[in-house]
Assembly symmetry: C2
Homo-oligomer: 177 residues x 2
């Protein structure tokens, strides 16, 4: 498949596809294009997707429970293995078959049974403290849904998702036409 057809499918340009791929190596053949199955396999290696990841979700609220229920994560190799909340009414209960553990005991659980990534789904004012504790437990990757900028050490990967902010960006687009 040519960089041009890959680009069309991915919503980008052929030059972009070639430049991006060339950063990691030379995967295509001139005059022929890229061998798709082969390329996909190599990209999965580069992205570290040929293994499963263990995730802890902190926060059993609306978004947290949706993530536990969402099948897409498991399908792609991301297993939510433990869930925490600080609300006594939720601790001890279940969310879609997943027991809700006491957030005060994060260290106990994650020391006994370490995870690869943490997902923060708590109110903004609690997010930094949760992040600190996850980092303290050796978590090296955090997905943060809380609307607060988190400070983490350089060796911890951090991605932020802010749904309200996405809607506000759409609001701006609508307000300026």
């Amino acid at each position: 498949m040519s960089s041009e057809s890959l680009a069309t499918r991915g919503g980008t340009t052929s030059a972009q596809v070639r430049k991006d791929l060339s950063f990691f190596g030379s995967f295509g053949k001139r005059g022929l294009g890229y061998p798709v199955a082969d390329l996909a396999g190599k990209l999965r290696d580069i992205l570290g997707l040929n293994r499963r990841y263990r995730l802890a979700v902190v926060g059993a609220g609306k978004i947290g429970s949706a993530l536990v229920r969402y099948r897409g994560f498991r399908q792609r190799g991301f297993d939510i293995v433990v869930m925490f909340d600080s609300d006594p009414a939720k601790v001890g209960g279940e969310v879609e078959g997943m027991p809700v553990r006491d957030a005060e005991r994060i260290e106990d659980y994650l020391t006994a049974d370490p995870v690869d990534m943490g997902v923060i789904v708590v109110p903004g004012d609690q997010a930094q403290r949760v992040a600190d504790r996850l980092v303290g437990c050796g978590v090296k990757a955090i997905l943060n849904f809380a609307p607060a900028p988190l400070a983490v050490p350089d060796d911890v990967a951090l991605k932020n998702v802010n749904l309200a902010l996405e809607l506000e960006a759409l609001s701006f687009a609508l307000a300026n036409r």
Copy 2:
């Protein structure tokens, strides 16, 4: 408040804050900084946040129902007013008090009761069709959770959210340290 303290709170730099604000006008006083309440009000005007927006959610699956339950949207001025699904088992039912309408009748509902934004939470292979129909109903802003690149006219604002992709980015970071 100075651009420096705004920057610290926002996780950016003072030069960035000043450049970004200067794009829209001159809001501060030299030697003094920015009047916070005043600035916030002006930014809300610029972002079009001094009104409420009506949203349609298409897809009553795991993520779709979480969005309906999530209070953050309503708090920030985004009201989900109608929900659609194509699964006959779901149509006619409710998700957190929100009736689920037949996705085949999107046009009927949105013509009678127009919305400002559409949220697409359907499987990837149905997303483009849903987007086309929303656009046909005059929707000018779309938030897409489906893992598919959508084509929409230039005058329609589009934002994509792909949660699995965020996790894969963390995977890449972990695999390359």
